[in-house]
Subunit: 314 residues, 2 copies
């Protein structure tokens, strides 16, 4: 029986890597710089070299390694191929799974989209531990999603499964989302979306608020909520109304056991769920009303843990 | 190798049944009345008796039957149990799979929601043949859905997977949907929803239209479109705008290879797709823009065919 697996989380700046035991224990964690020159041609060779070096250091052979799991910031189909381009890496239409497996001497390799991998990690070892149907909601610069159905990532036909930030929640919106559409969930529930909501609220009248003094961010809004700032509470209410309603629609389609909320905005903590869960319950069908909610617990390690889980949690 | 399977489609009035060969050929098709007395306690025994009688008639033994697939109008979890109640049958919280299998002497039995089963049938032998990730959209009295991911039905944690009629497409709606929410897709894209759109349009001004003479139905609207009735075209445009945009949101979540449009409204034919597909393309993310569309082809047999497919298409 082989005993270890690697989890690899490829980002636009660094590649995070971890060596894990079969039960999920993290043995070693490190990172290397992402070299994006020449359409990112060095990224996979650099990763393979770094993994091999780690095996040498630890006295491990291929026999000891079950496989390599990888998360990639791009649309990845169910066979581990990149569909379209991964702008942050310089890659276009790439058979990542095969290339990395070949570089690793044929080692089992599984590749998926990074948001889906983070969701997988939260299911395996984080906020959704014990569940098999999970929707991870990542509230960062944008709104990402990772959907796991009966233990399997919903990759989608063109790798776009779980792109929940682009469901339309406001057909009346006049401004455009980064994707070119109007009224996407991401325009209101991401870190930048919350700033948008705050600015719109401030423009309405002259009500005093900490937001008129500080730089506005998702953090200042939720800090203000904790300090009882009335305007911050209004902004949080609007955020919760839109996100709760959006997830209410989503639940009737994929009907997960649990939503896990992660990403930078989720650092606000449980107060964030207070604003979202009630609105969710009011805006979903009966059969979905008891869907559970949890905060993500793995933070920046969700990527390497989930990637290792793709190999070990089978 | 066993050679046959039964497909059973339980409805509130009749139970449709079919005997199929392994390659999907329909050998025999019949139906029995649904007896709903005493919380529908006779429904499963009646079905079992009818299937056994058919086996006798055809000279088949249990050895010749691979299994029984069943579609049920209610929320069915991935283990074939009814969650909550099936109002049309009188059933509450029932282990349908086990009960019918026991009645059939332990024969393999698979049970799923009827809309999901219809989607499975269209994938196996209908409008989505050749695909494995499919979203069936049933435009009938309501809007139902059946989602198949990588060849498996998305049943959902509480059997509510694929209830796409209840995604919110109009947060400004003041009237309520049958489910109690406001602005559900079903309020505009079902047969009754199209009548609602037509009445709202007629109330706006006095523009002449066939709709002012005939009883309004989805059929009169699309017949009017074919006869170049300007008001009917406006109603169809509004219908297409709402449904196309709703499916655009859906695509970014589940990213199917193909949408299959069925149900009574789809009898309008390809003109219906003309109004939906362009709006879909305008209202979904790039990665989903080439999602295919087709009309359902199995009609009322989708249920028995899909149910048999649950057994034979594995």
């Amino acid at each position: 029986m082989k005993k270890y697996a690697f989890g690899v989380d490829i980002g636009g700046t660094t590649v995070k890597m971890g060596l894990f035991e079969k039960d999920g224990t993290l043995v070693s964690k490190w990172d290397i710089v992402t070299t994006k020159d020449n359409n990112g041609e060095k990224i996979l060779p650099d990763i393979a070299a770094s993994l091999k070096k780690k095996m040498e250091e630890e006295g491990l052979t291929s026999e000891d390694i079950e496989g390599v799991g990888v998360g990639v910031p791009g649309a990845i189909d169910s066979e581990g191929k990149l569909v379209g381009n991964a702008a942050n890496l310089g890659w276009v239409e790439k058979d990542i799974r095969k290339e990395l497996s070949d570089l690793m001497g044929g080692l089992k390799t599984v590749v998926a989209n990074d948001a889906n991998v983070a969701g997988y990690g939260e299911m395996w070892a984080g906020g959704a531990k014990g569940y098999t149907s999970v929707c991870m909601v990542t509230l960062g610069t944008g709104v990402g999603g990772g959907i796991i159905i009966d233990g399997n990532i919903l990759a989608g036909a063109t790798g776009a499964g779980g792109e929940i930030g682009h469901i339309c929640v406001n057909p009346d919106e006049t401004e455009s989302c980064g994707c070119g559409l109007k009224g996407c969930l991401e325009m209101y529930a991401s870190a930048t979306g919350i700033v948008r909501l705050a600015k719109r609220r401030l423009a309405k009248d002259d009500a005093p608020s900490v937001l008129r003094k500080d730089d506005i961010s998702a953090k200042t809004v939720f800090d203000g909520v904790k300090n009882n700032d009335a305007v911050c509470k209004e902004v949080a209410t609007e955020f919760g109304r839109i996100l709760g309603k959006g997830l209410g629609s989503l639940a009737s389609v994929i009907n997960p056991e649990i939503f896990v909320i992660g990403g930078g905005v989720s650092k606000a903590g449980s107060v964030l769920l207070d604003y979202v869960v009630d609105e969710f319950k009011k805006n979903t069908i009966n059969a979905c009303r008891n869907t559970k909610f949890a905060l993500a617990t793995l933070g920046n390690d969700a990527g390497i843990i989930g990637a290792a889980g793709l190999i070990l949690n089978k």
